[in-house]
Amino acid sequence: MSLIKIALAGEGGQGVQSIAEILAEAAYNEGKQTIYIPNFGLEQRGGVSIAFIQFSDKRIGAPKFNKADVVIALSERAVDRTIGFSDQNTLYVYDSGFKVGQDELPSEAKQIIGLPAIETANNELHPRVFNIIIMGAVIGLTNVVTFEAAKAALESKLGYKFEKNPDLRELNFRALEIGKQMAEKSLKEGVTTNA
């Protein structure tokens, strides 16, 4: 696999760092090279939270990058902070749940996709697994890790919660699957704008 650079950004508390960590761990378990570095401001809560993750077969260089292969922005502020990472090769993904004007989206991108992740989480699953849907979407968009490896990493990180409440396991794995399908569908359909 050649180098894939992903920038995930959202509001602090949306779980961006959690899924970045799980994805990186999954890739590591599959014997891939991976670097994940979080980026945030001073405040403990709130603020924009960005995760930079890279996957490759070879040793990865700098932990940061200027342009990403995939950007996923989960809030308006996150879009604002990440349009700079998009160029003509970037797959730019945002959550279609919030209204973003055309002029606020990046002017340069390979493809711009709106995913109804928040809406799906709220209506079909549970608000708390919104970030797992996004994780599934990342896999659907890039195949950086296999679905099985992702599930295993998810189990490894959240297993202790699943022990207490086995329904959560079901919920999270469904969210993962739904996210993956949502992404694959929108790739086929091409550009999706605000619903």
């Binding site: 001073l42 405040e43 403990q44 603020g47």
Partner: protein, 249 residues
């Protein structure tokens, strides 16, 4: 949309502020803001903040503010007050900035009866750096650096700041401990502290017991319980030294 009433001395462009949900800083700074308004000292107030969560107040007030280094807010305020006594200098810090790295400066400024007002927010941990033990962490309390609970054999007992400050200071200092659970009293103590500076009496110090649900990992109910049932039992609230009258509880 209904906008909340905010003190005139608050700087609106920096709102909503960046403190965590459930954090006590917002309450303390509101009380301070109201006192600044009531005493009409906005234009001559110099606000100094430490590192740590208190640094999020660097643009909180519509008052001249300087953010300093960790534990060094006290000497910066002292430098300003000694140079321009007509200014009202308020140093704002946490339990680490005051009782740990800054204790040297706190103690000596108290002994010298420096005419500054220090407000120290005690939430029993180092919040911004992720919840490590603070001098004020309670015995048995779990923090990032005391994951099995604070062991007083290894780390000593919690620091009772106002108590030792009161012992060090001269009679015309003002020393008190307030809590965010008693707002009117908090305001009264802050007002007395500032009055002590403005009237040229001497040093004034207010510790405020405050909440940190983020690092305590508590929900709302647990948070208030920790504050009222544990912290306020360990750290008595009241005025330890009050040149204006009898101690007020």
């Amino acid at each position: 949309m209904i906008e909340p009433a905010t003190p005139k001395s608050w700087y609106l462009p920096s709102k909503p502020h960046k403190f965590c949900p459930g954090c006590g800083h917002g309450i303390v700074l509101k009380a301070l803001g109201e006192v600044i308004d009531e005493m009409e000292i906005q234009d001559k107030l110099i606000f100094g903040c430490d590192i740590g969560c208190s640094l999020l107040s660097w643009n909180f007030f519509a008052c001249d503010t300087t953010q300093t280094h960790h534990g060094r807010t006290t000497p910066v305020m002292v430098g300003i007050k000694r140079s321009r006594p007509e200014l009202v200098c308020v140093g704002y810090m946490g339990d680490g900035g005051g009782y740990s790295i800054g204790s040297q400066h706190l103690v000596n400024s108290a002994v010298r009866n420096e005419k500054v007002t220090l407000i120290l927010v005690n939430n029993t941990n180092y919040g911004m750096t992720g919840g490590q033990m603070a001098p004020t962490t309670l015995p048995g309390q779990k923090t990032e650096t005391t994951p099995y609970g604070r062991d007083v054999e290894q780390t000593g007992y919690p620091t009772k700041g106002p108590e030792f400050i009161a012992a060090l200071t001269s009679d015309n200092a003002y020393v008190a401990r307030a809590t965010v659970s008693k707002y009117k009293q908090l305001k009264r103590f802050i007002k007395n502290a500032l009055r002590n500076q403005i009237e040229g009496n001497g040093f004034s110090f207010v510790e405020v017991l405050s909440t940190c649900p983020t690092n305590w990992r508590t929900n709302a109910k647990q948070t208030w319980s920790f504050l009222e049932d544990q912290m306020e039992q360990y750290y008595p609230v009241g005025e330890l030294k009050n040149p204006f009258g009898k101690g007020d509880k």
